[in-house]
């Protein structure tokens, strides 16, 4: 077993920090260098659209680890810098401040950046929601009686809509798809989420997109936002606009690295992108052995699980990473959780409760009786037994593992 002395982790969000922490937990005593684009201490994102936006949690509460706990990990930090160039063969990464870091192994956990509309973001009162600063700034604007238009009815947009509504803000969400969340949840549950939102007073405009944002000066091109113009020319009055139209992987500095970049960083089943280069978290597009395809998850749970898997693969015999995807979404008084992945054509069955109730469990089946996913609506405890069923399907057979063990990282490039 070769000697590992220096591991560089690029990105200090949940995935990067979990990788570092797991390396220590497994006994790695060498140097771990953290390259962190942000300057604040590492923090958790899910509460940003919920408790932080609502103002019920002070910002300190979202720290991923206390300063004391971080000290104990004995990491070498570079804050407020990004990787500017990755020399894969040379095992060296250059930073935006000019420094160069040699490594035995590098882990790329650079996460995502929010997508922007083509214009309008220079207007006052227009926000995206990715960072703690974004959440704190938007929170200041969410005052009872104001009108918020949310562009994009995905999980982030709907969570923020629910939070804002509960602060007394008038909320309207604009979403091009006819049914919100149809991709991850299917038509029926997507509609049930829409019904939850509208029954509480959030307005939903589906099936139409936003043409532009309009300000109160310079013939609409400047000042503070006061309207959102839709594709049909109609306008929604707005005091505040949240643009929540998705995010893209942070890979722009890796274009000349030789790594395969397609929907994030392409990795094999062991989360390797190249010899001695791994990826973890939102940025990793790895081969999922059970799903049989490349997968990139933007789930908080995956940041933890993949960070742990990468650390294990660095230090010991590589294992294929085949997690049961898991995510949650909290909207109003509903805790929505899902295990597994359902395709478009999956059949939905309500297996506990009914859609009309405030708690139920929905199971997704493909090809008749094959359970592929399960969703809990205010039913966290009830999901575990269905998860056990999924686990049986997700656990690779010995034959499958043997095939995977042959998969060289060079297959990825």
């Amino acid at each position: 077993m070769r000697n590992l002395n220096r591991i560089v982790v690029i990105g200090a969000g949940a995935a990067g920090l979990t990788t570092a922490e797991t390396l220590r937990r497994l006994g790695f005593g060498g140097t771990i260098v953290m390259v962190d684009a942000e300057t604040a201490l590492p923090y958790d994102r899910p509460p940003l659209s919920k408790q932080v936006l609502a103002g019920t949690w002070a910002p300190e509460k979202v720290l991923l680890r206390s300063p004391v706990a971080l000290e104990k990990l004995a990491l070498d930090w570079h804050h407020g810098v990004q990787a500017s160039h990755l020399d894969v063969a040379g095992h060296r990464v250059s930073l935006s401040d000019g420094k160069q870091l040699d490594f035995d192994v590098a882990v790329i956990a650079t996460g995502l950046s929010p997508r922007y509309l083509a214009g309008g973001h220079h207007l006052q009162g227009v926000f995206v929601l990715r960072t703690l600063d974004d959440a704190l700034a938007l929170r200041q604007e969410l005052v009872a009686g104001k009108r918020l238009v949310v562009v994009g009815g995905g999980f982030l947009g709907l969570e923020a809509a629910a939070t804002a509504h509960q602060l007394g803000v008038e909320v309207e969400v604009v979403e091009p798809l006819p049914i919100c969340l149809e991709g991850p949840l299917g038509k029926t549950i997507g509609e049930r989420v829409m019904q939850l939102q509208t029954s509480r007073g959030v307005r939903l405009r589906n099936g139409i997109g936003v043409r532009r944002l309009i300000g109160d000066q310079e013939q609409g091109n400047g000042g503070s936002v006061n309207a959102v113009e839709l594709e049909d020319g109609s306008r929604l009055a707005a005091d505040v606009v949240l643009v929540a139209i998705g995010a893209q992987p942070n890979v722009s500095r890796l274009e000349d690295s030789g790594l395969r970049l397609q929907n994030g960083i392409v990795c094999n089943a062991f989360c390797e992108a190249a010899p001695d280069i791994y990826a973890a978290g939102d940025v990793a597009n790895w081969y999922h052995p059970h799903l049989g395809r490349q997968v990139r998850l933007e789930h908080r749970m995956n940041a933890t699980e993949q960070g742990q898997a990468v650390a294990r693969n660095i230090l010991s015999e590589k294992q294929p990473f085949a997690p049961i995807p898991f995510f949650w979404s909290d909207q109003f008084d509903v805790k929505l959780q899902m295990y597994g992945v359902a395709s478009r054509g999956a059949e939905l069955r309500i297996v506990e409760g009914t859609l009309d109730e405030d708690r139920f469990v929905a199971a997704y089946y493909e090809e008749g009786e094959r359970l592929v996913a399960v969703l809990g609506w205010n039913s966290p405890r009830q999901l575990l037994s269905y998860r056990q069923q999924l686990l049986a399907a997700y656990t690779p057979s010995q034959e499958a593992n043997a095939v995977l063990a042959q998969q060289k990282v060079s297959d990825v490039l």
Binding site: A14, T18, E21, T22, R25, D44, P46, A58, K61, L63, L64, R65, R300, M301, A303, T304, E305, Q308, F326, W328, D330, K335, Q337, N378, S379, P380, R381, L383, L384, R387
Partner: protein, 80 residues
């Protein structure tokens, strides 16, 4: 090792239950973490450590982590 579960951070993922099902359970009403034992035997140590690591919501605070002579678990519902 002392582990405290800050329950108002819990998002009911069940990750701790999956890691250490003899130590953790979820409340029937809302799925929030519940302790099955306050003083688990030391053979649960690794599983409890994995539960702490697996939680996606930083619920668990660990103290005296170098004292592996006993394992004490508590919950805290007041943390603001």
């Amino acid at each position: 090792m002392k582990v405290t579960a800050l329950r108002n951070r819990c998002i009911a993922s069940g990750a701790c239950v999956l890691a250490a099902s003899q130590v953790f359970d979820q409340r029937e009403s809302d799925g929030v973490v519940e302790l099955l034992q306050a003083h688990p035997s030391l053979d649960q140590l690794k599983k409890v450590q994995q539960a702490v690591a697996a939680c996606p919501s930083q619920v668990f605070v660990v103290e005296e982590e170098d004292d592996l002579s006993e394992l004490t678990l508590t919950t805290n519902d007041e943390e603001m």
